[in-house]
């Protein structure tokens, strides 16, 4: 449940970011992140909130790991947890 999921910030609209997760855009709340977030940044999100800004230059390793979970065809425990994280935020 603490796994969280990273996504790429597409637009920032006050306290809300529109974040792309594997082609799906979702509304992520920014109240809980302590750095300014701009389009192009990545954010680690958990239950609909951003908890950490990750500069694009440092995201490579993290993304690859999540890629393998999200693209997993047969859902398993861990990939289901990631998908639940995606379900936590409203589509935008």
């Amino acid at each position: 449940m603490c796994l969280g999921v990273p996504g790429r910030v597409v637009a920032v609209d006050g306290p809300v970011a529109h974040v792309d997760f594997w082609g799906v855009s979702r509304r992520i709340l920014l109240d809980t992140v302590d750095e300014p977030v701009v389009p192009g940044d990545y954010v680690l999100t958990h239950v609909g909130y951003a908890i950490r800004r990750i500069p694009a230059s440092e995201i490579g390793e993290t993304l690859e790991f999540y890629d393998s979970l999200v693209r997993e065809e047969q859902a398993d425990l861990m990939s289901r947890d990631v998908k639940e994280e995606l379900g936590a935020a409203q589509q935008s």
Partner: protein, 380 residues
């Protein structure tokens, strides 16, 4: 012992195979240089998922044991807490909660069973969705909140964000550092080092463990969740143990900092304070629970519905549940496969204990991916 497993451990394709090999070799070398076998405890369901899913235990030297501690917030939620949520739902109050909590048995029934009998229970993926349910409802809506500090931050944000008046929170949020104290203070403790959960530490910062390592003379290393992150963190812990250093080290610097996320901490402690409570099957944990501060009492379901919860008598575990050893598993004394019911009378479809329900529970994870024995036998 034959273990029933839904799915075999995945063959691990390391992104950087060379690095993985050198980390594994490093672990073996350090273990060989030490006089005794070593046990390291992690305290996070996501760590266990990753370790089990990728069969990492099969790569570890035989003298290194990595065990899961109390890293499943749903699993440590005490029966009276679940009974309270069930009681509210059965009195017609809409209770929203995460899917993991939905099916955890209380002393008489789970929220899922209450729902099957007609009680208004809704599964949500986030506290924000619980607030949405309240906005669209004319009646009272309770969010039965579970999770460690990482998740409590989100609950804090909705409580601080002017939710509608018919919304309230029944908090079963837990705070992980005090539970590590309990483990560290256990007599005859085998655990020689802790792998701390990266995403809880994103919030609280690595520094929070500094007093702890000094008091208990035990190193703590913060680690991420990828297989390589975990191996790298284990190497760091072993080095600290070998050198007799009780220090905090950060093996997840791309996400964790010394100070943590100040904004999230502000929200967390603005809304919550720590309180004592029983962690199911483990112990009374001083400061282990997160409860709403007095200034947010108007959103505290335990206060708002005190009359409805008064006189609630909580039963004790009966029948098969009395045999559940989740508590011993979460304190590192036993493994899921030590439980007589594992995979037989207790399965994800018909769970007896909370550890078989939650996706972060050790029993659920070992049932899905195979546990220590299976992973080791397969690969060796």
């Amino acid at each position: 012992m034959k273990i029933s497993v839904e799915r075999q451990t995945q063959r691990l394709e390391f992104r950087d195979k060379q690095r993985a090999e050198s980390l594994v070799a490093c672990l073996a070398k350090i273990c060989d240089s030490m006089a005794e076998p070593v046990s390291i405890m992690h305290v996070c369901g996501s760590h266990e998922q990753s370790i089990a899913r990728f069969g990492l235990r099969s790569l570890l030297p035989s003298r290194l044991e990595v065990i899961m501690g109390p890293g499943c917030p749903v699993c440590v939620t005490d029966m009276p807490e679940i009974d309270s949520a069930v009681a509210l739902a059965e009195q017609g109050i809409v209770v929203t909660t995460f899917g993991d909590m939905f099916r955890v048995p209380g002393s008489i029934k789970s929220l899922a069973e209450a729902k099957a009998q007609g009680a208004p229970v809704k599964v949500v993926f986030s506290p924000q969705q619980a607030v949405e349910v309240a906005r669209q409802s004319s009646g009272q809506v309770v969010f039965f909140a579970t999770g460690f500090e990482t998740t409590a931050v989100a609950t804090a944000a909705v409580v601080a964000g002017n939710p509608p008046e018919n919304f309230s929170v029944l908090s079963a949020h837990k705070y992980i550092p005090p539970a590590m104290e309990i483990i560290a203070e256990m007599p005859h403790r085998r655990v020689k080092g802790f792998l701390a959960a990266g995403h809880a530490a994103i919030i609280t910062g690595c520094k929070i463990f500094e007093d702890f390592v000094e008091r208990h003379h035990i190193p703590v290393v913060i680690g991420g969740f990828e297989p390589l992150d975990i191996l790298a963190a284990l190497v760091m812990i072993l080095e600290l143990i070998r050198d007799g250093k009780s220090e905090v080290a950060n093996a997840y610097p791309r996400c964790c900092t010394a100070e943590g996320n100040a904004q999230a901490q502000r929200l967390l402690w603005q809304v919550f304070e720590t309180g004592d409570g029983v962690w199911r099957g483990i112990a009374h944990v001083p400061n282990g629970n997160l409860r709403l501060r007095t200034r947010y009492a108007s959103f505290d379901a335990a206060i708002r519905f005190a009359d409805k919860l008064a006189g609630l008598t909580c039963g004790v575990a009966s029948g098969l549940a009395a045999e559940c050893i989740c508590g011993n598993i979460m304190t590192g004394i036993a493994s899921p496969t030590d439980c007589r019911l594992f995979g037989k009378d207790c399965t994800p479809e018909r769970p007896v204990g909370a550890c078989m329900v939650s996706s972060e529970g050790a029993c659920r994870i070992w049932h899905e991916y195979g546990g220590h024995l299976l992973a080791a036998n397969e690969d060796k």
